[in-house]
Symmetry: D2
Subunit: 148 residues, 4 copies
């Protein structure tokens, strides 16, 4: 399946259902913006409850949406009766995370039966600019026969 | 200064003030548990708002407290008129993050004038067990002359 | 300076001189293939002395050329009287590293006065195919006033 | 099995045979120093062929012995008819890698049926000092039914 191609409605619904069960995404106020094959975007609007000590988005919030974006990007390519777990991820925080919202993009760069590797990118978006806030890599594992 | 040794009250107060300004720690319900030289522990009690789709702590919450623990562990060793930023971190999620609370420990393993390296460990704690949930490494940068 | 643009001859010569002083690149048989602004490619021909236990290129060789490619990609953008050191790198080994040669590409994705972040990619190249063997991220530090 | 405990002779022999087939270890001049359960040490004597541009050990050599040490640490715990592959590793280079030799220690921190996580540490050893040169984390995968 080509990365970025349109998915069957049932697959998108499976991703949206799983996302809705992630209590943390609700607490942060994150929204699933785009769900394509191997490519998922999450939007995180700014609010003071998401900051670190200087008033920027906390790296933990940046990491949370990056991790979910990558996890679901991989999950779009997994069999129906499987689930996804993050094995590890690494994130470089390249610029202060500011803007009206963050946009986290997870993109599968190596799909696999057991392990899938994703690139993670987070952008700080304001009306007049779009700054590359963070980039990372993530290793996912596909677990068979476990409800997602 | 020996890692784990007691800090002057003023340094501990500076860390606690900075932690209190991290909106995300308040939103998550995280508490600063221990502040020693180069060694900081953060406690994150479980609640459904912190979960991923299977009901465990979301890796983003685990990463958030790990990142803050490491950042403040480094910050205890920085000069008064400096601030701390995370350059990058990497986290291996080794076991399902469950328990009554998470305990995130940041420990400086290489202090430096510009860069400081920390080990990050997160434990899932229940009355009857203590499981090593995640381990990681973090690179911090000390920025001079910026209010923390 | 645009990433991938042509560099002054003096800068290319500075990179080639430094590369020639890396004893390890000579031992491995690695060659500097392309030197552009923020973009450096290193070629590593296969030989049995570079293998792991299954006969593929050892991850250490893959890492060696990836690290040098990224380091020199950053170094092209540094001031004349500075040197480059690797702070850390992370590498995902996505496919068996095989082929007639490896091609390691280091590309600056965030230049900075102190820290520079590079993307690392390694390809296994044979006459009939080109496989993405490894991808990674690297943090470099620019050290002033130290002979490169 | 306790990490660091003595292994059956047959397991040690299996590790030594596999190490001897790693062409790169021979080229670098690396020696298998210690093989215990989940804990392997490799020794890399200094020579000019292993340097980077300032005359220290190149990070690629450091990474090579760290990766092999971790890989074999995991392999000591794997079934007889399996092999080990590195999924990814991350290394922080904390001090200039110098000394009479490097000592790379791989230690399993989370064994698993499919994935195993190791801590990697490299020391620069001279008669009068022992410096912590690098620390890292590594994810290994156990592949069934493939000759090691």
């Amino acid at each position: 399946m080509d990365i970025g191609s349109t998915l069957p409605d049932a697959t998108v619904a499976r991703i949206r259902d799983s996302f809705a069960r992630q209590g943390l995404m609700g607490l942060l106020g994150a929204e699933l913006a785009q769900v394509k094959a191997g490519l998922v975007t999450i939007r995180l609007p700014f609010r003071p409850e998401l900051t670190q000590q200087h008033g920027y988005f906390h790296a933990g919030g940046t990491a949370s949406v990056a991790d979910s974006a990558g996890g679901y990007a991989g999950f779009t390519l997994f069999p129906d009766d499987s689930s996804v777990l993050t094995v590890e991820f690494k994130l470089n925080l390249m610029n202060p995370a500011q803007g009206d919202h963050l946009e986290a993009v997870g993109r599968v760069i190596k799909p696999g039966r057991t392990l899938t590797i994703c690139q993670l990118d987070v952008w700080g978006v304001a009306p007049d600019r779009r700054i590359h806030v963070a980039t990372g890599l993530q290793t996912l594992i596909c677990v068979q026969g476990r409800p997602a």
